[in-house]
Point group: C2
Chain length 218, copies 2
């Protein structure tokens, strides 16, 4: 049975993993009979956002600990996982991907990817294991693998896409129920809540992404 | 278009709403074209649990604020919602249902339901609007509506079921992909993670529950 990593970045769209995208990824894997291995970096979140008010609050939360809420406690420290442990990896979106897995949300063109995230993505890419990324998470791929000219989508936000292209990525517009597949680099991306509008539409794209990723493993 | 309330109790299986159950409820509603109205009580959580270690930690979090993570900020204070605002209501599970919506997790046979939760459930029941409850959340119904001898399931945990029967409920064993329908009281319940084992199985039960509840509205 294939084992696919799910790289989380917290728990909540504004400071962590987008919860719907993460759960729909896990559901699609489960429906395909694919085992999942949830993981997250063991670091403090960049910030904590009150999701009712939308305001940043003066709290400290740990990315691994908060991600464990989505994973129901079944989660590994990213530092303990290498490409040898998994057949593929999928990054759900949410601001956590752009705040905790890398700093795209604040650094833009100067983005740096968290070293452990960079290590795992480079390991996976080097051995040809597929990588999926949802919503804004393709920004992480664009920066980590920019030298390989990854073909990705973040939907139709062309200003953001332009920054990703400055990293070396090639952006393709894509509808919410579609995916962009980079066969050469073994990457699959889908816009999800970069476009919305709701759960059924993002589920269609995420289902396709998971099927493509699982198909690359098989 | 029907509008169904989703009554959340925080964000995370051990101290709030079970995230998978909540998201699958919202997905099923969205796929049926039913509008959702997420809500939660504006109170402190009974406790905060580190979902990585499983240990209680000395933090204070607000049920409404944390529930807003699942709802992507689109959520109402339960105190502002009455039966007139919605056609039905569904309670996902997780320990939050038994710690924050009522105190079943600590009080057992002496359980009290939070006054605002009790008010809404009694209003809904009085006007014959359907109520769905998932996982351990039927414990809230058992206590709030015990006088009406509600027929419910929490799966096959007979020790817990016995306490719910002491409230007046009648318990039926039910598999994870099934539902128990109380036509007289217009209640639908499904065991979800009271039985598990995984997302695809609980999705089957939750899909049926949402279809039954929506069907009672139509």
């Amino acid at each position: 049975m294939a084992k696919v990593g799910v790289l989380l970045s917290g728990c909540g769209v504004n400071d962590g993993s987008e919860i719907h995208e993460a759960v729909l990824t896990m559901l699609a894997l489960d429906r395909l009979g694919v085992e999942r291995l949830c993981m997250a970096p063991n670091i403090d979140q960049r910030d904590v956002v009150n999701h009712l008010s939308g305001n940043e609050v003066s709290e400290t939360r740990n990315v691994l600990v908060e991600s464990a809420r989505i994973a129901r406690g079944e989660i590994s420290d990213l530092a303990d996982i290498s490409a040898a442990d998994i057949d593929a990896v999928i990054l759900p979106g949410g601001f956590g991907a752009a705040k905790n897995l890398c700093d795209f949300a604040v650094a833009g063109a100067q983005t740096e990817v968290h070293p452990e995230v960079l290590r795992l993505l480079q390991e996976m890419h080097k051995v040809g294991k597929p990588i999926g990324a949802i919503c804004i998470a393709p920004a992480v791929l664009a920066r980590a693998l920019g030298a390989f000219k990854p073909e990705i989508t973040i939907g139709n936000d062309l200003a953001t896409a332009q920054i990703l292209e400055s990293f070396g990525a090639r952006h393709q517009e894509c509808p919410v129920d579609g995916v962009v597949v980079d066969q050469r680099n073994r990457l699959v991306t889908t816009p999800a809540y970069m476009l919305g509008p709701g759960l059924r539409e993002i589920a269609a794209g995420i289902d396709k992404l998971v099927q493509q990723v699982a198909g690359m493993v098989a």
